[in-house]
């Protein structure tokens, strides 16, 4: 076959399309609508996924892995006598009930399967490659003693580098080192300790505070009463000692009180002195820290962005993380049971999946935003696929129209085809001419669809945001909800062209097979 230039084919095809403008435009409109829908659905799917990723990766959130002890229990670990189900029960329900029985057995026996998040495990994880940092969630109930007044409070460990801390400081400074022996005190406690005016508040940084920990029942009660009464009730250290002694006596006096047996039992249980063999659980100790600064609770708006650090809203003391970790090791419930939750920060977002898998291998529970995003992506992909399929069907319908129109066009141009054959056009050349004509329709309609899809994304984005606002979504999605990757911009016109060329196949075949003698006899 002699080589007809592609540009000649394209020119001839373009000429034949402009010959019948109305018909070409109507056919184009069908292709355009299909391509438009396809572009919109693909770009929205891609755009939403990217937008969610952008929003969630803000502030390195995607690098975080939440680790917690895996308490799920295998029913086989539970003694069989505690797992018996009475009555005639369907197998599915039996299975559900057995799961519940195992769980309640676990809770009753305070049995903790799986690996505890111990300090030594944390130190192992810290040495792993691709781990940036490991931050345990440390919350310790304690009493702060200052100016002869004891105040109960929750103590929270925070890395010195945590940027939110300096924002919450109202007097003094945040920490400069993770292992500093300094402390941040909540402004309300400062107020209760007598630092009332703004000027007085500035006096607190630099002072020392004694924190008391451990099983001192009287101290605990005194601190909590003082805290919950908002400072109306105060206990001096001497009063606390008296309270402790009276509580011990109370345990002995319970037997003589004229109250029902059940109430006697519960009082005994509450006030009985700790048995001698139970220390160090019952042991108490205290530590002294210098106040670095005074902090306020985060606002509602700040809490939305903090999310993982919601504890900051319920905390009275903040210690530097390393100091808090060392402290936790002196408290039996932390030392033996491990931390309740640990945040592992990966070096990079791409390390998260592998790290999560490795952590699971250690027998702990894992949750990461990356996995959450994977879920979002899955959902969006399903929705996008459905939309894209519908759009592709629209394109297919348009292609059927093209098939029809081109079959007509072949009939109308029979004589012209005959002439072309008489002057030496080969069958394959004629066929290619019509295929290119069909492809051109797809390409033009597809390109117009991409362009108009892009134009429509501006109002579309505004409308989508307005809808999200109306529904009360507080989280602002970052960037456009429409995304136009190169594969969409080039792929949609190419796909449309492929479909329309397919539609042109049969008519082009017919054109190629036209008998020139018959064709020339017409007219």
């Amino acid at each position: 076959m002699s080589a007809v230039r592609f540009s000649d084919f394209a020119t001839m095809a373009g000429r034949s399309l402009t010959q019948n403008r109305t018909r070409s435009l109507l056919t184009l409109l069908g292709v355009f609508l299909g391509a438009f829908l396809l572009v919109i659905s693909l770009s929205v799917g891609k755009g939403i996924t990217e937008s969610v990723e952008r929003t969630l990766s803000f502030g390195g959130k995607l690098k975080r892995i939440q680790v917690y002890p895996d308490y799920s229990i295998d029913p086989d670990q539970v003694p069989e006598e505690d797992m018996e189900i009475e009555g005639d029960v369907a197998p599915e329900r039996r299975e559900r009930l057995r799961k519940q029985l195992a769980e309640s057995w676990r809770a009753k026996n305070n049995y903790r399967p799986g690996t505890p998040l111990s300090e030594s495990l944390l130190q192992t994880i810290e040495r792993w490659e691709r781990v940036e940092s490991v931050t345990p969630d440390i919350q310790i109930s304690s009493r702060g003693v200052h100016r002869d007044k004891s105040m109960w409070g929750m103590l929270y460990g925070q890395p010195a580098a945590e940027p939110i801390l300096s924002e919450l400081i109202v007097a003094g400074n945040a920490f400069d080192r993770d292992d500093a022996r300094t402390i941040l005190v909540h402004e309300f406690l400062a107020y209760e300790w007598g630092y009332r005016s703004d000027e007085e508040l500035q006096q607190l940084p630099g002072q020392t505070i004694e924190l008391r920990f451990g099983g001192d029942l009287a101290g605990g009660i005194a601190g909590m009463v003082a805290y919950h009464r908002g400072g109306d009730v105060e206990f001096t250290p001497e009063e606390e000692r008296q309270l402790a002694e009276s509580l011990e006596r109370l345990a002995e006096l319970v037997d003589t009180l004229p109250i029902p047996e059940a109430q006697r039992e519960v009082l005994k249980k509450t006030f009985a002195p700790a048995p001698d063999e139970s220390p160090p659980a019952g042991e108490s100790f205290s530590e002294t820290y210098t106040v670095a600064g005074v902090f306020r609770s985060p606002s509602e708006a700040e809490l939305i962005t903090l999310r993982e650090q919601w504890q900051l809203a319920h905390t009275q003391f903040i210690l530097p993380l390393a100091t808090a970790r060392a402290l936790a090791q002196r408290l039996p419930e932390h030392r033996d049971r491990g931390y309740q939750q640990v945040m592992v920060l990966a070096r990079d977002e791409s390390d998260v999946a592998a790290l999560a898998e490795r952590l699971r291998g250690e027998g702990v529970g894992v949750h990461s935003m990356t996995e959450f995003i994977e879920q979002v992506r899955k959902h969006v992909t399903v929705i996008t696929s459905v939309m894209a399929t519908l759009a592709a069907v629209a394109l297919l319908v348009a292609a059927l129209g093209i098939s029809n129109v081109m079959a007509m066009s072949v009939l109308e141009r029979t004589r012209e085809i005959g002439i072309m054959k008489a002057v030496g056009a080969e069958e394959s050349q004629i066929q290619r001419l019509f295929l290119i004509e069909g492809g051109l329709l797809g390409l033009l309609g597809g390109a117009a669809g991409v362009f108009c899809g892009w134009l429509a994304s501006f109002p579309g984005n505004a409308v989508a945001r307005w809808v999200l606002d109306q529904r009360g979504f507080q989280e602002k999605l970052e960037g456009s909800l429409f995304s136009y990757p190169l594969w969409v911009v080039l792929g949609v016109p190419a796909f449309a062209a492929a479909i329309t060329m397919l539609a042109a196949w049969l008519p082009s075949r017919r054109a190629a097979r036209i008998d020139p003698i018959e064709a020339l006899r017409q007219g």
Partner: protein
Amino acid sequence: MDARPLVSIVDVTKIYGAGHSEVAALRGVSLDVRAGEKVALLGKSGSGKSTLMNLVGGLDRPTTGSIGVAGADLAQMSRSELAAYRRDRVGFVFQAFNLVATRTAVENVELPLIFAGVSPRRRRDQATRALEAVGLIERVDHRPSELSGGEQQRVAIARALINTPSLLLADEPTGNLDSDTSGQILDLLRTHLAAHGTTVLLVTHDEDLATRFADRIVRMQDGVLVP
């Protein structure tokens, strides 16, 4: 004049249809045409003269027999080879002109060159010169509907000769023209054919035209040549 036969038709039959609806358009035709010879196929409508011309032009294949043109047997050629043969060796002039209505004069003339893969610039040059040679340089960008019958046929002649074919097949080329115009067209053909030594097969029912134009007249009747 070269004495070797350019076209050698041997015992050609052409049967259309099958069974009861079978029609024999040609029933054993043998004919030699020498290179440079101008032969007129004279016959009434339905005599088979156009069928024979279509076979020689490679637009169709004989049912039996062979048609040799410059040593190659058309009956043995593939469809694609036949197309190349029509493009490179043959020029057609039809009674109905058969110009593409949507193309201008020059675009019609350059049509064969498109399928030969000639560059746009070269074929435009060639086509323009061909139109100049048939006296239509003023009408280059006119569409067929804007041209008279004689002008249209001149465009068709320019197109038929653009590839300098060795064989020109003309089917009633003056059938749609008045006698004055017919004369001009015949003069034009004669001049150009003489310049290139082109062989011509003229199909007509017009005895006068055949006599005026051809070196030799071959008469056809009911699908056979008659002496």
